[in-house]
């Protein structure tokens, strides 16, 4: 039946082709979009998704109550027609959309939503999507106060909790049972899996029962199918794009971007600053097995700020990333539209001021070498992971920048395992250069980085009590914003955190990398965003120009 319909449509298109552009306004439905997954999906059970390929599949085939618009970063109603925050941030009530159906035609019921939310929030099931809700202050309860109403009651107020529902999958008990056979698994997303060839590819077909329609009342998505090839090698992925075999690549590096741009300039898309940055921090762990006098440097605010001032970030962005990066302003990228502290300015590059600052702090230049008050030559090592050319180049440039103020920097590239071992367990390092990614825009998601007691508090993790007054300040501000319900007041608190981080420079944020992607010019309505999934966040509206797939 379907086949015959497609054949008929094809014949119709061929016959009508001279008039097509006049008759059918873009977007034209149909066609197959192709791109690559970078690893084998681990699970199709939407409740248990934790890795990127699984997440991509879930994004394309699953439904959520609230979706964050990746472009505006605003929350939009999805399977929930609307929602309300009640009881001072302690409760959230969803009103379910009418007439939503699974890809097998069955209706989405309130019982399905109850099942989904209870499963995600059940600590015994260890659903990764439920992780942010497990605050240790008690288990959230899910209830159904009305026929189309669902109420989630939290043990304590969680400001900004609604954003977390972007990651909470809505499914059904039937679907979870069938997750071992993805082709039989009903879903609520714009597409559903029709064929899975392990190690090779996944074919997704348009969900004929998808609830969304475009402004003209046509049902979405426009595309007939999406083919995901499993391809780990990024060079091969690039080659396939350049040969026109695939339509999209997310997360290009600067060099690959330049290659796409050289071949067809319109297809290389630079979306500007992303949420990925490169950072340098100093080891401030008291029990670190490094000489005491070096710890003194690293614990000196003036020393850290001098280093920050002596690094030419504009050069880093221009040379290492060929301009596809920008000097970082603070710990939060401007790409985080809601939370970036717009009062902060790009730190100035000023080696003379840096030197003056060091001299004021008791350092002195003897010849071309900087010495501390006790006469120790200022020399330390920076570790970074090997195999990452950009990072190695950053380190080499910083080496030359610091040499200008008499600091000798030794660059050591380590394999990732050894690096993590050193920065999290043995603390046998002096400074570290690594990248940071902000996946969740909300400051509460960064508690594990900024709290002095947190295990990811890079420069001095898991302190029993804050070792410095400014860390105590950050702790206080972060805890306050976590329970504050007013966005404005939360913003003010988190702005101050950003200021302290810039003033104290425990981490020197070097550059914000741009979000780079490759998008075939045969695609319409692709508007790459900095947030995952970058190029295809609006998959239901992406179309092939002229229905090219048919």
């Amino acid at each position: 039946m379907n086949v015959r319909w497609a054949g008929f449509a094809l014949a119709w298109l061929v016959v009508q082709s001279p008039l097509r552009s006049a008759r059918i306004p873009e977007p034209v439905p149909g066609g197959e979009l192709r791109f690559c997954l970078h690893a084998e999906p681990k699970t199709f059970n939407t409740l248990m998704v934790s890795e990127e390929p699984d997440e991509v599949v879930r994004f394309l085939t699953g439904g959520v109550l609230i979706r964050m618009n990746r472009e505006t970063q605003a929350l939009e109603p999805e399977l929930a027609e609307s929602w309300r925050i009640l009881d001072g941030g302690r409760k959230i009530e969803f009103k379910l959309r009418e007439g939503v159906r699974f890809s097998d035609g069955s209706a989405l019921t309130a019982a399905d939503v109850l099942f989904s939310l209870r499963s995600v929030l059940d600590p015994a099931l260890h659903s990764p999507a439920g992780e942010p809700f497990r605050t240790g202050q008690g288990k959230p309860l899910v209830s159904q106060p009305g026929s189309r109403r669902i109420l989630v009651s939290l043990a304590a107020p969680m400001p900004g909790v609604e954003r977390l529902f972007d990651e909470v999958p809505i499914t059904s008990a039937r679907a979870v049972e069938k997750s071992a056979h993805p082709a039989d698994m009903p879903g609520l997303g714009p597409f559903h899996v029709v064929e899975y060839r392990p190690g090779s590819s996944l074919l997704l077909a348009r969900n004929p029962f998808y609830w969304k329609r475009d402004e003209a009342g046509r049902s979405l998505p426009y595309l007939d199918s999406v083919r995901l090839s499993i391809q780990q090698n990024r060079d091969l992925e690039l080659a396939r794009f350049l040969h026109g075999e695939i339509h999209l690549i997310n997360g290009l590096d600067a060099e690959s971007f330049e290659r796409v741009a050289a071949k067809s300039p319109g297809e290389a898309r630079d979306t500007g600053r992303s949420l990925e940055s490169e950072e340098l921090w100093f080891n401030q762990v008291a029990r670190a097995p490094i000489p005491e006098y070096r710890k003194q440097w690293f614990r000196s605010r003036e020393f850290r700020r001098a280093v920050a001032q002596a690094i030419n970030r504009a050069d880093l962005a221009r040379l290492v990333y060929r301009g596809h990066a920008a000097p970082a302003i603070g710990p939060v990228s401007p790409a985080n539209l809601a939370w970036f502290n717009a009062n902060l300015r790009v730190p100035t590059f000023d080696p003379d001021a840096a030197l003056a600052r060091l001299k004021a702090a008791g350092f002195s230049l003897a010849g071309s070498a900087l010495h501390d008050r006790e006469g120790h030559g200022v020399e330390f090592s920076v570790i970074t992971n090997s195999g990452n050319k950009s990072r190695e180049r950053l380190a080499t440039m910083i080496q030359q920048d610091l040499a200008r103020i008499g600091i000798r920097l030794n660059v050591v590239t380590l394999d990732f395992g050894s690096l993590i071992e050193r920065i999290t367990r043995t603390f046998d390092y002096e400074s570290c250069l690594l990248g940071m990614v902000n996946v969740d825009l909300d400051p509460s998601a960064e508690m594990n980085v900024w709290l002095s007691s947190a295990s990811s508090h890079a420069w001095n993790p898991a302190q029993t009590s804050p070792e410095t007054s400014w860390e105590a300040d950050i702790d206080r501000l972060m805890r306050a914003q976590a329970v504050e319900t007013s966005f404005k007041r939360r913003k003010a608190l988190f702005d101050r955190v950003q200021e302290i981080v810039v003033e104290e420079a425990p981490v020197v944020v070097l550059v914000d990398k741009n979000a780079l992607s490759a998008v075939s010019r045969s695609l319409g309505d692709v508007t790459p965003a900095v947030l995952h999934p970058q190029t295809f966040w609006n998959i239901d509206r992406i179309y092939l120009r002229g229905g090219a797939g048919r």
């Binding site: 040379l319 090997s386 080499t396 440039m397 080496q399 050591v412 380590l414």
Partner: protein, 268 residues
């Protein structure tokens, strides 16, 4: 053969001299970043252009030659020496010495290097100056690369050991030291030489791999290894043939070595 050999020696000497005269031939130095002209094309100022950080590629090539052309042969000599002692002992004395040493060779050839080198990196201090890193690299390559030569020399020693003249020397009552030094080693010399020359290009390339583990020659000091590693991205080279200079120089030097070492000795 003779004139070719002489030409090869002259060429190699010229390359060595140029490497030694790097400071004079390339006054820009290997580390200085001319950040206003990254990825420059060859010009009168930068004979081979600049790298992505604006460093003079010609200077880096010369200084890199200096490092690699002294480091690799030194490491090869060390590896061949250690390999010769182990291999000849095993092959000549046989018995339990052979059993133990042969096991050790197998172990060294099958060991997961990654983990061994990782633990080496773990015990070394982080603050290794670039110039010290050259010495460490030399020792590592030399001390870890012995098993290959040892295995070849073991087989060769075993073969030479049962030659008539060896039996005759022992029947003459010569002491083991004389038998070894007068009869065994001179007859193993071609094998030793072959192992030595073969190790050189191997070590030049291994040095680059050590860099991935935080060993190897450290930034900003150039070596052929890290210069060649920069050529991994073929597209960076396409349209910029001058970037192939390190590879060309490596091939030229290896060819020179090939002609200088009398090949008829290898055929035995």
């Amino acid at each position: 053969m003779k004139p070719l050999r002489r030409a090869a020696m002259a060429l190699l000497a010229a390359i060595y001299l140029a490497a030694l005269a790097a400071a004079w031939l390339a006054p820009a130095g290997y580390a200085r970043q001319f950040r206003e002209s990254p990825d420059a094309k060859p010009s009168a100022v930068f004979l081979l252009g600049t790298d992505e950080l604006g460093r003079d590629s010609f200077a880096r090539l010369l200084y890199g030659s200096r490092v690699s052309l002294s480091l690799a042969p030194a490491a090869a000599a060390l590896a061949t020496l250690v390999g010769a002692v182990a291999g000849v002992s095993a092959g000549y004395w046989g018995g339990w010495i052979d059993t133990c040493l042969a096991r050790l060779m197998d172990l060294f050839l099958s060991v997961p290097w990654l983990f061994l080198l990782l633990s080496v990196r773990a015990v070394l201090p982080l603050n290794v100056r670039p110039l010290e890193s050259i010495g460490i690299t030399f020792l590592l390559l030399g001390l870890l690369g012995w098993a290959g030569p040892a295995r070849v020399l073991r087989a060769a020693a075993h073969e030479v050991k049962s030659e008539d003249f060896m039996v005759q020397a022992r029947a003459r009552g010569s002491s083991p030291v004389r038998v070894l030094s007068l009869h065994l080693l001179p007859n193993l010399a071609p094998v030793l030489a072959a192992q030595f020359w073969m190790s050189i290009p191997l070590f030049i390339l291994s040095e680059a791999n050590l860099g991935f583990l935080g060993l190897g020659v450290a930034e900003p000091v150039p070596s052929w290894g890290n210069l060649l590693a920069g050529l991994q991205n073929l597209d960076a080279v396409a349209g910029c043939p001058w970037r192939l200079a390190p590879l060309v120089l490596l091939l030229v030097v290896m060819a020179c070595f090939h002609f200088i070492v009398p090949m008829e000795d290898f055929s035995k």
